[in-house]
Symmetry: C2
DNA sequence: CGATAACTTGACGGCGGTCAAGCGGCGTGG
DNA sequence: CCACGCCGCTTGACCGCCGTCAAGTTATCG
């Protein structure tokens, strides 16, 4: 049963402004889909056929050059919107990093629905503006920060973003311990580094007792102050 | 006289969807302003008090670290929208690169007007989505391209973007000769390089007869094919 | 014509990329 | 239950690109 009634991101996603009648209409043109970790939802340079809301899980937006270099240009968390409405082609592939649940729409249907529902477009606009802000601050990181600063900034951002999805745990501020949804290679692809450099920076931070790495995917921030100081 | 009637970007900016009555209202809350080259319009971390449409000229959006490193995160050309509606603070300063004419609005006034005019919000959404696409492809450049590829990509993009503003010259395709609105340092700040590296890449391209540099600010593309090949 | 800022060019070194080997956790199969 | 292999990750050695520092050159403007 794929009803908006039971949707866990009902009040956070762009659907938040819609009334029940509108939700019924939206429900009729969308459908839920589960994507296994590592599976793509949208291919780079595809005709932009799909858009979607993330219900659960984490996905990456990635662009690559012909010779195989990759750059992760965005990460989508629950309640985030993915895809490119009102456009011809998407410039990035979307791939699930964890098992993910999404609510997908054919772009044509979504475009039409959006055109008739300004409240939805407004939500989408706010979200897009916020994403643009985040992307721009990431440009600063890519263009002007060194490896140590990149990794420190990354860990702090992960603590913030993953925290948002811990549900109702007393709005406890940023997490100090979390499971990375990224492999080392994917961290490298986010930061514009190589896997070896990322690994060395992680090891250094662990040796300096700024973080602990209880397992490959788990991170515990031991000294947030030190990490912030290194973030540039 | 600052009327929309005579506005040269009337049909390209986000105002394009508005009828005459709406324009009168918009006209009432906005005013034209001229900014000298090098002068700021918006300061980083300011309360987001202003938004604006670019009428003429080129402006940079720039973020900087406490220790003075700069990264240009966007460039605004005529008909582009600048500023951050619906938000608290802006994350970037806006500074004119050339003398610039803009149509400025108090953010509060603009937010209200936008809320009442879905057609305007729709235009703004399309524009923001396009800017996000461009920004993401720039992340690829910053994170994964080397100096030669960065400079080649930059020159090709400049040829395209500046071409858009040559007016009605028979839609002649990308320009082969143009005046950079950037100093060498600003090119470096766009590409995440140093001024010396930019200068060396320019010199190399000139020596290889891929481009000519008739003066400091002027560029002529002699061998577009070679430049494209080097863009990665 | 001189002062100043913008740019170019050269010498050099370090950060981070490349290549390669070693490690370790986990799943599979004997 | 243990042996084995695989894959992701770590670590080391080396080197090249590009940043840094410094000097020289060219435009621009009083």
């Amino acid at each position: 049963m794929s009803s908006c009634d039971t949707c866990v991101v009902r009040n956070r996603a762009i659907c938040a402004g819609l009334d029940n009648a509108e939700l019924v209409t939206l429900n009729a043109i969308g459908r839920r889909r589960t994507i296994a970790a590592g599976e793509p939802l949208i291919w780079e340079d595809d005709d932009s056929l799909l858009v979607a809301n993330v219900i659960d899980g984490v996905l990456k937006l990635v662009t690559s050059t012909e010779d195989g270099r990759e750059q992760i240009v965005g990460v989508a968390y629950p309640s985030d919107f993915i895809g490119r409405p009102f456009g011809q082609t998407t410039k990035a592939s979307v791939v699930a990093l964890t098992e993910a649940k999404v609510c997908v729409f054919a772009r044509r249907d979504f475009d039409r629905f959006a055109g008739e529902h300004p409240a939805l477009e407004h939500k989408l606009l706010e979200r897009t503006l916020a994403e643009l802000d985040r992307t721009r601050s990431w440009m600063m990181l890519l263009g002007r920060k060194n490896a140590a600063e990149k990794v420190a900034t990354f860990l702090l951002e992960m603590a913030d973003r993953l925290d948002d999805n811990r549900g109702c745990q007393a709005a406890a501020g940023p997490a100090t311990r979390f499971a990375l949804p990224f492999s080392r290679q994917q961290v490298a692809d986010v930061l514009g580094l190589t896997i070896e450099t990322v690994s060395r920076q992680f090891s250094r931070l662990k040796a300096d007792r700024v973080i602990d790495l209880p397992s490959r995917r788990d991170v515990e921030i031991l000294d947030r102050r030190a990490l912030t100081a290194q973030a540039g």
